[in-house]
């Protein structure tokens, strides 16, 4: 008896589908047969009450029927959507209008999908990487836990230089230290490769500064290095001027001042005209109209000696810039701690 019901059901479905004229009608058929209160469900519910020998046969049959019906409905749907070009879906249009009856409020807000934000520090690093890659600089990485040799000795920092003292460098319990500058990667790269070299090295550096709006004990630097025969201070100015104009804009003014770093000579500090006050003077630029953005210079011959390059043959320039500082200037952020607090209301602005 049940078997007959199943056969009948199957032909009924076929009949109904043949009559259907719109996708909505097909949907109605689906609900009628496959829905929670549909015909198939009824049959399934009856199976447990059957005699044991029938139970398994009917179970299998009912399952097969369910799959067949599903298949036929899907096939019918496919036929419909394929035969109706979306723009001339007259059947669909008519039924949509019936469905909504003028109650569709077009002005309700759209449904947004969440989109994640890349941390502003990463964004700045990516931007700088991209600018320097156009000048042929590759990206190198190096360890943050370092030996004194790479952080100081090879960089021509004298044994008694104040930067080696423990209020300027973090020392670790395994006789190593946390690098206080990304210049370490210069040395590692030069020891590994022969010139020509053009590289930048972004990364974290650490200094035992008391944390306040302008200081963090961990921050990010990007080191740059170019070594070839015949590289001059002029090339240094070209590279850094090109970079600054792309990053800060064509109108930016630049100033190269003589300075001192143990690993470069001549050394320069590079200022740009203050973007916050348009060089009129504000607290960010200490009312000078200039803000220091990077340190640079020609690689000191002693550094070349340390890595086994001939300083008579090769010359080069190096520079270092502070990522947080650049990002703060770019966006007018006044507190470095915001970067590491990670308030999503802050991060989602970038």
């Amino acid at each position: 008896m049940m078997q007959e019901r199943l056969v009948a059901l199957q032909s009924q479905v076929k009949e109904d589908l043949a009559k259907a004229e719109t996708l909505n009608e097909i949907e109605d058929i689906r609900v009628r047969y496959l829905g929670r209160k549909g015909a198939i469900k009824d049959i399934m519910k009856a199976i447990p009450g059957l005699p044991p020998e029938e139970k398994s046969i009917m179970g299998k049959m009912a399952n097969k029927l369910k799959l067949d019906i599903t298949g036929e409905i899907e096939a019918a749907e496919k036929r419909f959507s394929a035969s109706l070009p979306p723009s001339s879906d007259k059947q669909g249009l008519k039924s949509n209008a019936q469905e909504t009856k003028g109650t569709f409020d077009l002005s309700l807000p759209g449904k947004r999908r969440p989109y994640g934000h890349i941390h502003p520090i990463t964004q700045t690093i990516n931007e700088i990487k991209s600018i320097f890659s156009k000048l042929g600089f590759s990206v190198e990485y190096g360890p943050e836990v370092e030996q004194e040799y790479y952080n100081f000795d090879a960089l021509n920092v004298p044994q008694d230089h104040p930067s080696r003292e423990d209020f300027d460098t973090f020392y670790l319990d395994n006789k190593l230290l946390l690098r206080s500058q990304t210049s370490t990667v210069q040395i590692r790269t030069m020891k590994k490769r022969k010139p020509p070299i053009r590289m930048i090295a972004p990364g974290k550096v650490y200094r035992p500064d008391t944390v306040d709006a302008r200081h963090a004990s961990m921050f990010h630097q990007i080191e740059g290095l170019m070594v070839e025969e015949g590289v001059s201070f002029r090339d240094l100015k070209f590279a850094l001027t090109s970079f600054s104009k792309i990053y800060f804009g064509e109108d930016i003014k630049m100033r190269f001042r003589p300075s001192f770093f143990p690993f470069t000579e001549p050394s320069a500090e590079v200022d740009i005209s203050c973007s916050i006050c348009s060089a009129r003077g504000c607290s960010v630029c200490s009312h000078s109209g200039w803000v220091e953005v990077l340190g640079a210079g020609m690689v000191d011959p002693n550094v070349f000696e340390a890595v086994g390059y001939d300083p008579e043959k090769y010359t080069g320039f190096a520079f270092g810039l502070g990522v947080e500082r650049l990002t703060m200037l770019r966006y007018g952020i006044d507190d470095i701690r915001l970067f590491f607090e990670n308030d999503l209301r802050f991060l989602s602005q970038f």
Partner: protein, 671 residues
Amino acid sequence: MKISYHWLKDYCNHTLSVDELSEGLTNAGLVVDTSAPVGDDFCLDVEVTSNRPDCLGIMGIAREVAVLVRGKLLIPDVGYPAIAENIESETSVENEEKELCSRYTARIIKGVTIGPSPEWLQKRLQVLGLRPVNNVVDITNYVLMESGQPLHAFDLDKLEGKRIVIRQASHGETLEAIDGTKCTFTSDVLIIADSKKPVAIAGIMGGKGTEVTETTKNIFLESAFFEPRNVRRSSRILGIKSDSSFRFERHVDPECVDWASRRAAKMILEIAGGQILEGVIDLNCIRRKKTPVTLRTAKLNRLLGIHLEKSEQREILERLCFTIISEKEDSLEVSVPSFRSDVYREIDLIEEIARIHGFEGIPATSSIGVKLNPDNKLDRVVERVKGVLSGMGYDEVVTDSIVDNMQDRHTGLWSDSRSIRIINPIRHDEDLLRKSIIPNLLKVKKHNQNHGTEITRMYELSKIYLRKDNGELPDEKECLCILGEEGYFPLKGMIETILHRLNINHVLDSLPVQSDLFNPEKSAQLKLGEKIFGYIGELNREIIHHYDFRSTPCITELDFELLVNMATLENSYHKAPSFPTIARDLAVIADEVITWAEIKGCILSLKMDYLEGIEFFDMYRGKQIGPGKKSIAFRLIFRADNRTLRNEEVDVCQEKLLKTLENSLNLRLRS
């Protein structure tokens, strides 16, 4: 270093305004931080880099100004009349430490009248922020600020034995310094002593007991060269800094030692009266004779990228008070004055010329040419992975590598070794390098919850630091740590999406893991192929309680380097199949112990023809199924490459498959 605008003019005639002066000095490498009016004068705060101790006196800065304005440096006359009585008859100096004190001079001025300094002198000191004391002390400070050479005046009559001994302190000797600090010396501090006791800490500060007061009549005037490193060390050990130690640490000009002494003696005579004894005690063991430096004209031009004639180079050096010993066609042999301790190589001369010529005068054009570099794989993988995470709505965070000991209270995921500790942390309770990013993300979540953001989806891609033995560099492991709010399977799905995006086809295994960070039921160690890939789990109830979280975060930490190694960034193309699939949805009833991985593995082991995919879609438990059982529903997708499959063919496959599942895993088709 603070300087007075008017005082500076004593040594160099110039017509620069305060602003012009500031700009000129800044462009020459002496940054003027601030300039502020003080009375009718201006105080300029000049930042002197550590290589330029010669500019730690106003005359040194005047020398730079003279170079800039092409003017002349005016050096005060230090000639004075002395009386017949010789200094040797009145005092003596013994130097036991010639390495640490390579020059020591003494002059004696008798019969002085101590009183306030004249107004002009007081005013000048006040512009620099110094407090006038009395005429003799003010004069030593004046000459210090003028020349950069520290001086000290002792009350001769308070020196026991009226003599000076330069020696190491004996262990336990004490001295009360002028500023009131009571020092107890260890044996390695250099002191100035009289015949019995310490009277000054060499190069740092004098003692209270021998200082010049209103009753002082006779002055012992000290001017010396103390070894920089030793002064720095002692200053740190004792915790005393002074204008003197600041300059000695940075190397004073050994040839200025006597000049400053004469200058001060002469001023004392003029202002405080008295008589200067004939002669000077000058224990000078400085043998360092500076060797001349050769400068090649072409080398300079090549390095700077400019064209400066040899004559122009020569002219700049001469303006800087360097002496040209000889000149060849393509080079200069240069003698460097004693006050420029920083100049001893060709490159140092090049820097001097570049500095005075001006960096502005070097063009910013170049022909460095093209160099192409392939992007490195790490950066490309990072970009892809972050793209996936952004697209799924996850924010990137950056947290500190230095953490508190929270991480040591939990099972180490990656390593059981001790955390690496910082010896000199800023905060003593934050002195460890992180061994996992997880505690940091929990803190960020907490911060955000406290500030009203309940749902936080975020990740950090950064390093953790795992100790290695024997002073080797630690394993700096690049980890991807993701915190989600939707539970275990959505987070695991995200990992699968990332693997898919990187074309990594290795099987992702999830094995039970023991960690008190996680809910023991809902956590796993993940493996890719045979390699440990990471950890995933919903947070343990205690941790949720500890942070007072109102949701149940699920967190994962993955070995990013493994991802980079396994990733394939260049996809290969497969033609889209042209024949349709046949899908079969099956539900099987299994014992609770049977895992999906076993079921899937069992099906795959049949290596069935036409089977293209197996997709899990539902798991169900309920009374229809009975206790200890679960129903697992999945879809099998069949397809042939070259024709449309027939239902009957798939039926055969399905039967075979169900039989195998029944025999090996005791699964029944749910009916």
